[in-house]
């Protein structure tokens, strides 16, 4: 057998191994209902429920942040994250969470935000000079 042929087989084997590992480790985009059914981690897309409280109190625990997420089906769930409130969290229009359910709460191991894209968000800020009313 030629070396090239052996090498070719090795390459195919490695490629298949890579595909299998990547597929096996890949996750799915699910909903809160899906998360309740499984004990493994998954991705959930949703948005922050701005009406409910975001909780972060550095003085009590600097590594505890919780909020309410509404997933794409409209189901809501409390999310707990061990860390600080991500930058610009309240401005996000879409949140992608990775994590799993622990009891009633969804424990997020990572939070990815999609902020409104520059091109859609473009709002003109009209600068009007405020009269400096120095009233005493």
């Amino acid at each position: 057998m030629k070396k090239r042929a052996i090498l070719g087989l090795v390459v195919i084997a490695v490629a298949i191994a890579v595909i299998i590992t990547s597929t096996a480790q890949s996750s799915t985009y699910g909903t809160i209902a899906d998360a309740k059914k499984t004990s493994s981690e998954l991705h959930i897309i949703g948005h922050l429920d701005k009406k409910k409280t975001l909780y972060y109190d550095a003085k009590k625990d600097a590594n505890y942040f919780s909020f309410y997420l509404k997933d794409t089906t409209g189901v809501e769930c409390k999310v707990v994250y061990s860390g600080t409130e991500p930058e610009d969290f309240e401005r996000s229009e879409k949140v992608v969470l990775v994590g799993k359910m622990e009891g009633e709460n969804f424990h997020a191991s990572s939070i990815l935000l999609k902020c409104p894209s520059k091109y859609k968000q473009d709002k003109i800020n009209i600068a009007t000079a405020k009269p400096n009313s120095a009233s005493i």
């Binding site: 990547s22 890949s26 985009y29 550095a58 003085k59 505890y64 600080t84 191991s109 999609k114 120095a134």
Partner: protein, 826 residues
């Protein structure tokens, strides 16, 4: 023009747009002329060639014109242009105005096409007999790049996106019905604070030069196939491939330096899809480069060499598509959103893919493919194997990074692995291990045939020495806690450094032309050593064991082994030292230079005798702006053997851009401000009396008649009295002077705050009959005291990563010189 708008500067935009069209036309004319110059076999007729050259010069000059116009627009803050408005603002320093230039997609294309124009001019000057076919391809790519900036509607579809788009055309808003709208737009959106970093001034031009340079070996490969000069194109393409690999690698590492210096994920590489995409072309180019050298030295692997060089350019186009088309969606934080150029970007890939595939297939029977098998103990065989593994590593990156693309094509809903970083780290490390070991032992092999006994002895001896070095390194650095594969990478890297060190030592004795590859391999080995130790054993300094929080589940298993169960963020009050990770850390205070808020964090380390061994102050900062929100920027103290990295993760809410300083704000008796304090306590005191408060005491020193108070004119009938108070707290002394005033028929008092002690004082009453005054003391409650939440990490031996990169660049440079010399002697 149906309407006249006041104050617009339309000329630079019109001129710039004209230059864009000229650059497009020039490139098109150049491509066509060079094509006919190539096809035309009548060597006496140079008219097509001359036309092609002049058209290419026109393209180059127009691009300089486009760049000048765009710079003029940005530099002069002409916010009627969307580009200037969206990416810059008036307070931006000039060097960041330069980086504002390539902030948007259009600027990126401009940079890319500009570098290609520069390279094209070098080719016109140097390529000689290759000029015609090679420049046909370069010009053709220039046509595509120029089309990306056209911004012209043809048959209802917009082709490209122009950097000279006017704000009023880019955005629909009622304000634009006002002919005087510009007087309302005082400032631009400003640059994302994360991009305001010196690396962002030089990283994009470098990376784009790297991306642009891939066109040269690609064009040579296409030209070789097209003109059936199959063997000849390899030699001139090698120096360009080396250059390309060098610049691409440098650009990528600069990007990771930027991420390390100014982003706050705490590292230099996050496996973000856009980051991954930037190394696709590099991996393939490095693989292709090695196979080119294999072919040149042994006549083997022609097909693979050509295939990889063609693929490297396809990867350039593919990474550009990933970053710009919006396809990455929720998987990336860096990517642009779709600007309606999706299909234009896709067709850019498809055209060049089709051209490559077509030429490979039609020429397949004529390719100089060697029929005989190479020797097992030959350098060419193992270099080839190494290149294949580089290709496989890229295959894995492409496969996983492209998950959103597969979802798009197959309408599936697959998500990336949940432990994405762990997934990439382990699989990529496996490839790195194979590659490093190959870069090691292939040094002991010769081209064609090697004597096996000697080879095995040297290989084994070096492996043994490498193992002996690796074991203590792994033990003392703490790497042994990681996955086994990382230890093997460490071994492979040490082995590669040793083996290539031997080659370098021999080279210095005489065979100097071999130095280049040895130096580059040593640099690569050092990079991996640095990356492994610093990322693998980075230590959490801000260990927070307190807190009632939940179990620490947001770490990958590998990270958990390092940090244990500790939480990463720690809150500290101002002036209250706290011990963490061997340091005594104090938050000293903050300073503001709008829109940046700097937090001074003092680190002290004591030696055994209790003396300060080490002290430094880090100033991580946070930018708060209405456009971008809250953005935190880390600060890092660099030592030779490690780096201490600190960033702010939470702060009390900052009032945005206070228009007055705190003293005058308080002077208005702002009731809201009082809410920040405990209920006030009034003290009747005479001069010399002492008032106690929770954290110290104060003495009323004297009462003084004031003659002027801020901007209020005082008349003879007005009375203003200041109480000079000295405050002693925590071993420090402060002074303050609240003021009481009778102005006209009203009574006012001006409170004064002493922020460091958390006090506000009012001179609230004058009691002449008792010769006393009433001082009202407001004290901040404990929990209103200023605080920050920060995270601090220690990166050991990260300097190996940066110095390895530098050494690798030097290695590439040496190789370029060597291959250039060969070119001249041939």
């Amino acid at each position: 023009m149906d309407k006249a708008f006041k104050g617009e500067h339309l000329f630079p935009g019109h001129l710039g747009q004209l230059f864009i069209v000229l650059s497009f036309g020039g490139a098109l004319l150049s491509a066509v002329s060079y094509y006919f110059a190539t096809v035309n076999k009548d060597n006496t007729d140079n008219s097509w060639l001359r036309l092609g050259r002049w058209a290419f010069y026109l393209n180059s000059i127009s691009l300089v014109g486009v760049a000048s116009c765009l710079f003029y627009v940005i530099y002069n803050h002409y916010f009627e242009y969307h580009y200037a408005w969206a990416y810059t603002s008036k307070d931006l320093p000039v060097y960041y105005i330069v980086s504002g230039f390539w902030n948007g997609q259009e600027g990126g294309f401009l940079l890319w096409t500009f570098w290609q124009a520069v390279l094209g001019n070098i080719l016109i000057w140097k390529a000689k007999s290759w000029e015609k076919p090679v420049m046909t391809i370069v010009s053709f790519v220039q046509v595509w790049l120029a089309s990306m900036m056209l911004g012209i509607e043809i048959f209802g579809t917009r082709i490209g996106s122009s950097p000279f788009l006017l704000l009023r055309d880019a955005i629909q808003a009622p304000i634009f019905s006002n002919p005087d709208y510009l007087s309302f737009i005082k400032d631009g959106q400003g640059m994302n604070p994360l991009l305001q970093n010196y690396w962002m001034v030089i990283h994009p031009p470098t990376l784009f030069l790297g991306l642009a340079s891939v066109i040269v070996p690609f064009s040579y490969a296409i030209a070789g196939l097209w003109q059936k000069r199959y063997k000849e194109w390899i030699t001139p393409a090698i120096p360009y491939a080396l250059f390309s690999a060098m610049i691409l690698g440098t650009g990528v590492i600069m990007g990771s330096l930027w991420a390390y210096e100014s982003l706050n994920f705490g590292g230099f590489w996050a496996w973000d899809p856009v980051e991954n995409a930037s190394i696709f072309p590099w991996l393939i180019m490095v693989a292709g480069l090695h196979v080119l050298i294999v072919y040149k030295n042994s006549g083997h692997s022609y097909f693979t060499a050509t295939f990889l060089i063609l693929l490297s350019f396809i990867m350039v186009l593919y990474q550009s598509f990933l970053a710009r088309s919006g396809v990455l969606g929720e998987t990336s934080v860096h990517s642009f959103t779709d600007e309606g150029m999706f299909w234009q970007l896709v067709s850019f890939i498809l055209v060049f893919l089709a051209l490559s595939v077509y030429l490979m297939i039609t020429r397949r029977k004529e390719l100089p493919i060697s029929k005989k098998d190479e020797e097992t103990y030959s350098r060419e065989f193992w270099m080839f194997v190494g290149s294949i593994f580089l290709g496989l590593s890229c295959f894995h990156l492409v496969l996983v990074t492209s998950i959103p693309v597969w979802n798009n094509i197959f309408k599936t809903k697959v998500a990336p692995p949940t432990d994405l970083v762990g997934h990439y780290n382990i699989i990529q490390a496996s490839f790195a291990m194979v590659i490093t070991i190959l870069t090691g032992f292939s040094q002991f092999l010769r081209y064609k045939k090697t004597e096996t006994t000697k080879f095995f002895i040297t290989t084994m001896v070096y492996m043994l020495v490498a193992a002996l070095i690796t074991i203590p390194v792994i033990y003392f650095s703490g790497l042994y806690k990681l996955h086994f594969v990382f230890l093997l990478v460490m071994f492979g890297s040490v082995y590669s450094i040793l083996a290539n060190g031997k080659v370098l030592a021999d080279a210095l004795k005489g065979k100097f032309k071999l130095a280049g590859s040895a130096v580059a391999h040593i640099g690569f080995g050092l990079m991996l050593v640095g990356a492994l130790i610093s990322a693998g054993t980075r230590k959490l300094v801000s260990v927070n064991e307190a807190g009632v929080g939940i179990a620490d589940f947001n770490k990958s298993p590998a990270e958990q082994r390092i940090a244990g169960d500790a939480h990463e963020n720690i809150m500290i009050y101002r002036n209250e030292p706290i011990k963490m990770g061997g340091y005594t850390v104090t938050y000293l205070g903050d300073s503001t230079s709008e829109p940046d808020h700097y937090y001074k964090v003092d680190y002290k380390r004591y030696n055994e005798t209790g003396k300060i061994a080490d002290e430094f102050v880090l100033k991580p900062h946070v930018q708060v702006s209405s456009q971008m929100g809250f953005v935190s920027n880390p600060d890092t103290k660099h030592f030779l053997s490690h780096d201490l990295y600190t960033h702010i993760t939470a702060i009390p809410t900052i009032k945005q851009a206070p228009t007055q300083d705190s003293q005058t704000a308080a002077a208005h008796g702002d009731e809201n401000d009082d809410k920040n304090y405990d209920p006030p306590i009034a003290h009747e005191v005479a001069i010399g009396d002492t008032i106690r408060f929770r954290e110290g005491f104060m003495i009323l020193k004297s009462l003084k008649k004031e003659t002027a108070i801020q901007n209020i004119p005082l008349t003879d009938s007005d009375v203003a009295i200041g109480a000079q108070v000295q405050i002693f707290s925590n071993g420090k002394t402060y002074s303050s002077e609240p003021v009481y005033m009778v102005h006209g028929k009203s009574v006012f008092d001006f409170a004064r705050t002493v922020d460091d002690v958390g006090l506000k004082l009012r001179l609230s009453k004058i009691i002449p009959d008792k010769s006393k005054v009433e001082v009202t003391v407001y004290q901040q409650p404990e929990n209103k005291k200023p605080w920050i939440v920060m995270r601090a990490l220690d990166f050991p031996y990260i300097n190996f990563l940066w110095s390895g990169t530098l050494i690798m660049i030097i290695g590439f440079l040496l190789s370029i010189f060597r291959r250039n010399k060969e070119l001249k002697t041939v």
